[in-house]
Amino acid sequence: MKIKKNAYFITGGILSALLTILIVVGMFWTPYSTTAMNAKAKMQPPSWSHILGTDNFGRDVFSRVMEGAGTSFVIALLVVLIGCVCGIVIGSLCGYYGGIADMILMHVCDTITAFPAILLALVIISITGGGAYNIVLALGILFIPSFARVVRTQYAGIRDLNYIKSARLMGVSAPRILYAHILPNTLPVLIPAVTIGFNNAVLAEASMSFLGIGIQPPQASLGSMLKDSQNYLNSAPWYALGTGLAVVLLILAFSLLSEGVQQGSRRS
């Protein structure tokens, strides 16, 4: 994979590395406490002491963005993980064995996609209650169909190739065929699906927090911060723009990386 000329890969790589470092650091240390309120420092514009200014409670926006980005990042990662793992299991079984199970499961997947996403999330959350873990569960379930469908088509395609038939003839056990032989071949399709999944997960979490059903205070994610910042767009625009930029960069970094990977593999 020629990396030298692949601009997307480079920019995506640098951006994601930078963001990941910021997020990991944010989990242990932030320039200011993310919760301490300070009446005198309310609504201060960006300055050297406060890079992204302060919010309506006098808290440093940059520190909160670091922590919020961490929450959003972890949630999105977990959501994609659940969606991907379950998606692979379901997709591989359906794709490989087919038959009625395949028909039924695919129908269930269609129904899940037919459901308005936020409604399913709301239903799950109203049963399990708000908070980060329940959102991860709710969104995780939502992301299974997309992965399942991608994996199923790949498996259905690869299932009849000769090297798989010969593996079966040699008595290779089914799980080994499924996950040692076929799975690696689905990677070129799976990796972009994972990054797109990550993007959608970050967006989904942000939208749910915007509707007020996502992360509940005092915990803060980029989505909930964006919602709070809407009120001060006029007097403290840096609050909304700073947070919004963080969301965009978080998504952009990984989608550029995925574009780079795709273009790299296509070209080599």
Binding site: A7, Y8, H107, V108, D110, T111, T113, A114, F115, P116, A117, I118, L119, L122, V123, S126, I127, N199, L203, A206, S207, F210, L211, G223, L226, Q230, L233, N234, P237, A240, L241, G244, V247, V248, L249, I251, L252, S255, L256, E259
Partner: protein, 312 residues
């Protein structure tokens, strides 16, 4: 034809499952409607009496059948919070959301197809990079953030547009449409980016096909080849994508209506879920799900109609 029949049957089955799931979902959710209606002076006998009056004590499946029959007849029950028939509530909310969805879809199609064709047929490198970057950025911006900022920029800074001054359909159609344009654009932008990118790569792929050489050997000009040969081939995957995005747009209205305070089914759905207003939520879900399933079905049909190879 057999294929179409099979598709219709699976469509109906999915709708059935969705309505059943929607119905069951609300049995699980905590908060019994009777506590809502009776409030604090809910004595056990009153609760029991009301439950039987509402028929809540009958087994779930019978209640589901009951609900389905009345649903098909168009009676969706009465809303708890607004104390009026759900059908009248939806009568003035659904048109707004449908108008917003159609407007956003038209903008998506009207903008992305010409740009996609132009992007596909130019050969210079820089155009490619510009489109890839633009597409990535547009898809990375959360729609409500885009709505928020455009509300601020157009509304408060430039004063071109008055967020919150929604003019209802009954008052003036043009007033309503002009208010819905900015939200529709916010909804459309990420989809325009995706469509342009898809159309561009689809055209570039078709350009490498042998039939293009045949066409050139007939003496067709470059634009003639594009118009008479490449466009239809390149549009096939794009048309299906556009049709599917019509379903996504409808789901997207749920968020956009919150940002632009548009009294559509999206906002009603969010507040009704919060208020555990089951009849309203169930009606909206089934309508939304029906819209998504029907749109996917049309996408399939369009695909078959446009590509003769699929027509066995």
């Amino acid at each position: 034809m057999k294929l179409v029949l099979k598709k219709i049957i699976s469509l109906i089955i999915t709708l059935f499952i969705v309505s059943l799931l929607a119905f069951l979902a609300f049995q699980i959710i905590p908060g019994d409607p009777t506590t809502k209606l009776l409030g604090t002076n809910a004595t056990p006998e009153k609760v029991a009496q009301l439950r039987s009056q509402l028929g809540l004590d009958r087994p779930v499946l019978i209640r589901y059948m009951d609900w389905l029959v009345s649903f098909v007849k168009g009676e969706f029950g009465t809303s708890y919070t607004y104390n009026r028939a759900v059908s009248t509530l939806l009568a003035d909310k659904l048109p707004v959301t449908v108008l917003l969805t159609v407007l956003s879809f038209l903008i998506t199609a009207a903008v992305s197809v010409p740009i996609g064709i132009w992007a596909g047929s130019t050969r210079n490198k820089w155009v490619d990079h510009v489109f890839v970057i633009l597409d990535q950025v547009l898809m990375a911006i959360p729609p409500f953030f885009f709505g928020m900022v455009s509300c601020f920029v157009f509304g408060i800074v430039l004063r071109w547009f008055m967020p919150g001054s929604f003019i209802s359909l009954s008052e003036s159609f043009s007033g309503c449409v002009s208010y819905l344009i900015l939200p529709a654009v916010c909804l459309a932008l990420p989809r325009i980016a995706m469509t342009v990118r898809m159309l561009r790569s689809s055209i570039q792929e078709e350009l490498t096909q042998n039939y293009v050489y045949t066409a050139r050997s007939r003496g067709l000009s470059r634009s003639g080849i594009m118009r008479r040969h490449i466009l239809k081939n390149a549009m096939i995957p794009v048309v299906t994508f556009l049709a599917v995005s019509a379903a996504e747009i409808m789901t997207g209205t749920i968020i956009i209506e919150q940002v632009f305070t548009i009294p559509g089914t999206g906002r009603l759905l969010v507040s009704s879920i919060g208020n555990r207003d089951f009849p309203v939520v169930q009606a909206i879900i089934v309508i939304l799900a029906a819209w998504i399933v029907i749109v996917n079905f049309t996408a399939d049909m369009l695909n078959h109609w446009m590509d003769p190879r699929l027509r066995q």
